[in-house]
């Protein structure tokens, strides 16, 4: 028999290349979110040109920070094959705990230390999640449902239940300090606060971890198939503690920003935010089953959800419809992802 040489260009790419459109989406599932985002912005701008003025853009930017930080954390945990729904409780505990610490114990605490303290609390609580998920071998969903109640309970029982309205001046200053201010048409001054920068910085940091360090690949490895990853020498314990700890740290950061921006600390804050955040991450192309997704996609998902939450009012759609739109988008994106996977499986 005349066997072809084994260096033949192996046929590892079936019909895929021909369908360029599916090929495009195959590599970059977040394209669907990008298209939805562009379509919405286009439609809204067409109906109500005031959308593209500075004040609504600044509103969106400001509103995206907290959900964005949470989403980057959720993305990290999802990529590692877990899920975290305790982050709102972590954010609230860090926010309220740090605020009351500064008010009652250390009023002169420098802002940078306040931020670091909050991040540290968040990272510690997140690491507790990681230790439990790894040690108990219990699904992350169950563990974080448990710790969510636990963290929120600790906050309410041991730290406080009343709203803190007299916030420390350094936090208020941080929340007000603006990157730039402009006079809007209506005569109102709009300013983009400096804390907005935290979101892009966190996104770039997360991107760096995922694409330039071994940890990023290890997170994907564990999320892809934890048994195989363990056999290949990846330390599952380290990876899980890192992923949950990192998500916790971002939640702590989100907490301190929320308190500074709103000039108050509400121990019941963030309750119910988790589904919206997970939705944003999934719209960004990460699979709920782990091992996939990109930071860029996550940012797109966050922007999409924020835009829907903020601009529908501009075109006269009542805010009660936001949920309908977000729900429809999630189903649309999910249907699209499934279709794409079936296409590539053929």
């Amino acid at each position: 028999m005349t066997d072809k040489t084994i260096s033949e260009k192996a046929d590892y790419s079936p019909d895929l290349e021909r369908k360029w459109i599916f090929f495009l989406f195959k590599g970059r599932p977040e394209t669907i979110s990008l298209i939805l985002l562009v379509m919405i912005c286009g439609a809204v701008a067409f109906i109500n040109p005031s959308f593209f003025n500075m004040s609504s853009l600044v509103d969106i930017a400001r509103a995206s920070v907290v959900i964005g930080l949470f989403a980057l954390g959720v993305f990290t945990v999802l990529a590692a094959g877990g899920i975290d729904i305790s982050f709102p409780a972590i954010g609230a505990l860090a926010m309220y705990g740090v605020s009351s610490f500064v008010i009652n114990v250390f009023p002169g605490m420098p802002m940078i230390l306040i931020i670091l303290f909050s991040v540290l609390i968040g990272a510690t609580l997140g690491a507790v999640n990681g230790v439990l998920v790894h040690g108990l071998r219990v699904p992350a969903l169950i563990v974080t449902i448990g710790t969510q109640y636990l963290f929120r309970g600790i906050l309410l029982v041991f730290i406080g239940t009343v709203w803190l309205m007299e916030m420390p001046s350094q936090m208020i200053d941080f929340g007000k300090f603006s990157l730039f201010e402009i006079e809007a048409n209506s005569g109102v001054t709009v300013s983009l606060p400096v804390y907005f920068l935290v979101f892009p910085i966190a996104a770039i940091t997360t991107w760096f971890v995922f694409n330039r360090t071994l940890m990023g690949r290890a997170i994907f490895a564990v999320g892809g198939n934890s048994n195989v990853a363990e056999r290949l020498g990846y330390d599952l314990r380290k990876v899980r503690i890192f992923a949950f700890g990192y998500a916790g740290a971002l939640a702590g950061l989100a907490g301190v920003i929320q308190a500074s921006a709103n000039r108050m600390a509400n121990p019941f804050d963030f309750a119910g935010i988790e589904i919206g955040v997970i939705a944003a991450v999934v719209l960004g192309g990460a699979r709920i089953t782990g091992g996939t997704g990109t930071v860029f996609g996550t940012v797109l998902g966050v922007l999409l959800v924020t835009v829907v939450n903020n601009v529908l009012v501009l075109v006269g759609i009542p805010s009660t419809w936001q949920r309908v739109v977000v729900g429809a988008f999630i189903l649309l994106a999910a249907a699209f992802f499934v279709l794409r996977d079936r296409k590539s499986a053929l």
């Binding site: 084994i6 790419s13 990876v239």
Partner: protein, 514 residues
């Protein structure tokens, strides 16, 4: 790389190795020697200690007793790290690739992991990853262009994945690559490619140890046979010095005749007539008939359409065109349930994920098709009736246990297959389609499966056996149909055709014969 005879000194040797797991004495004093640049074939029935011994070589198990010599140094055990440092790599049956990472990452991340010394916040060296991946992929004959390097593993066909797994094994300086049943799910053509890849490794002075059930391939590759039985190495020597039946005898401790199992003859009446069956690109213009009690083998490369044809007849995929006539009556198979209603059963190739409820008991696995027969009062299941029925199936299939509550995951591959066949026999099928009936089954169990197949034919059941294993088809079938590019290209009488002849027609496309 030139072959240096001096480098062929013993690289790894085991002497007097014992391994006990609790009360089980898995290895009872094993001696064997591995030299670089040579091929080895670890042969033996399931449960003979083969996997225990490779786990000792790769550092996953610590021997209870005995000495491991590595480059002349005596050690009591090998840690996983020490095994890797010594260049001992294992390609497991599941390949252990990370499905969501790229080819380059799968091949070269291990090196980065070692370079990072466990610090996971270590900065990745993308240039090095690329270089290492390209070099290793070349050694397994894969053209490492940017497209391949960036492909995600889950997008690649199995045969390419396997080569990627081998590339990962040799990415760092491997001296021994252990391959656990590497050809189980490969087609003949892919096996040829693998054999060439192995040739390259041997030329590069790497030793290759196969754990395998496929003697055919071992003879083709050559090298040394290492035969295990009951936790002992009963023979080691050049494989060409042993005949097939000698090896089979060494493995089982009894002689197994490699003769034809088929003794009966089909009846002259036609059970199923298949005319002009077509289904998209999968298969075209398929026409043949099966007589009562006939055993028809179907083979071909994995893309020849044979798998799709088998699944279409069982109702797992739809048949857009063609006419099926069952005992003179036209039938339409639209789903597995409708196939079953016509008495057509299907035993899938991947019995673990498609056939068995693996964590459930033998009882629960044997009765699902006869639930209507074991109903008691109020239409509830009658446990007593069910157990009686399951017990009958177990004894009919000669299972090695009478315990109906044992999970099937605790059974050997051969016994699992018998549970599955027994389940189908419980509905007295007219046609049973067996897909790869002996994949992953040891020599001794193969024999009992073959006997079961022959008994079914004797009872008048017609069988279609879809398989890559040509000797198996030759030993069991009346006729062998060969498929290529979706068509039936040959219809051989199994008694008058040879292995080589069938293989030739498999790799010749219909266009060439036309």
């Amino acid at each position: 790389m030139s072959k240096k005879p001096s480098s062929k000194a013993a690289f790894l040797s085991l002497s007097g190795i014992h391994k006990r797991f609790g009360g089980v004495h898995a290895l009872r004093g094993v001696d064997l020697t591995i030299e670089q640049g040579k091929a080895y074939h670890l042969l033996g029935e399931n449960g003979c200690g083969k996997s225990t011994v490779i786990k000792i070589m790769s550092g996953a198990h610590e021997p209870t007793e005995g000495i491991i010599s590595l480059d002349g140094k005596h050690l009591n055990y090998l840690s996983p790290m020490a095994a890797l440092e010594a260049g001992i790599e294992t390609v497991y049956q599941d390949l252990s690739l990370l499905p969501n990472l790229t080819v380059a990452e799968n091949v070269a991340l291990g090196e980065q992991l070692v370079a990072g010394k466990g610090r996971l916040l270590y900065r990745l060296d993308h240039q090095k990853i690329k270089q290492t991946a390209i070099a290793a992929l070349r050694k397994v004959g894969l053209e490492a262009d940017q497209t391949l390097l960036g492909k995600t593993i889950s997008d690649l066909p199995l045969a390419i994945r396997q080569r990627v797994a081998i590339a990962r094994a040799i990415a760092s300086d491997a001296r021994l690559v252990i391959m656990d049943e590497p050809t189980t799910s490969l087609t003949r053509h892919e096996v040829e490619v693998l054999i060439e890849v192995v040739g390259r490794l041997l030329d590069n002075n790497v030793a290759v140890l196969f754990v395998t059930h496929k003697l055919e391939e071992s003879y083709r590759i050559g090298g040394e046979a290492i035969v295990f039985r009951d936790g002992l190495c009963v023979a080691q020597g050049p494989i060409e010095n042993y005949t097939r039946s000698q090896l089979a005898e060494l493995m089982t401790g009894r002689s197994i005749e490699a003769t034809r199992y088929r003794v009966g003859k089909p009846k002259n009446t036609t059970l199923l007539d298949i005319k002009d069956l077509s289904s998209g690109h999968a298969f075209r213009d398929i026409s043949f008939n099966i007589r009562h009690g006939e055993i028809v083998g179907i083979t071909g490369l994995s893309d020849s359409g044979r798998n799709e044809l088998a699944m279409a007849l069982a109702g797992h995929i739809s048949i857009p065109h063609g006419v099926l006539t069952l005992e003179g009556e036209a039938i339409h198979i639209t789903s597995p349930a409708s196939a079953i209603s016509y008495g057509i059963g299907y035993v899938p190739e991947d019995r673990l994920s498609e056939g068995l409820f693996i964590e459930k008991s033998i009882y629960e696995n044997e009765v699902p098709l006869i639930l209507n027969r074991i109903l008691g009062k109020f239409g509830l299941l009658d446990d007593k009736k069910g157990r009686a029925a399951a017990g009958e199936i177990s004894s009919g299939m000669k299972l090695n246990t009478k315990d109906l509550d044992l999970p099937v995951s605790a059974l050997s591959g051969g016994n699992q297959q018998r549970v599955l066949i027994g389940r189908w026999l419980s509905i007295n099928p007219r046609l049973l389609i067996l897909h790869g009936p002996t994949v992953g089954v040891d020599v001794g169990s193969k024999e009992t499966i073959f006997h079961a197949i022959q008994e079914m034919a004797e009872r008048g059941i017609s069988l279609i056996v879809v398989s890559d294993d040509l000797p198996e088809l030759l030993q069991n079938c009346d006729r062998i149909l060969v498929m290529s590019s979706g068509r039936i290209v040959e219809n051989f009488n199994a008694e008058e055709v040879s292995d080589d002849h069938i293989y030739q027609s498999m790799i010749t496309s219909p266009q060439e014969t036309a």
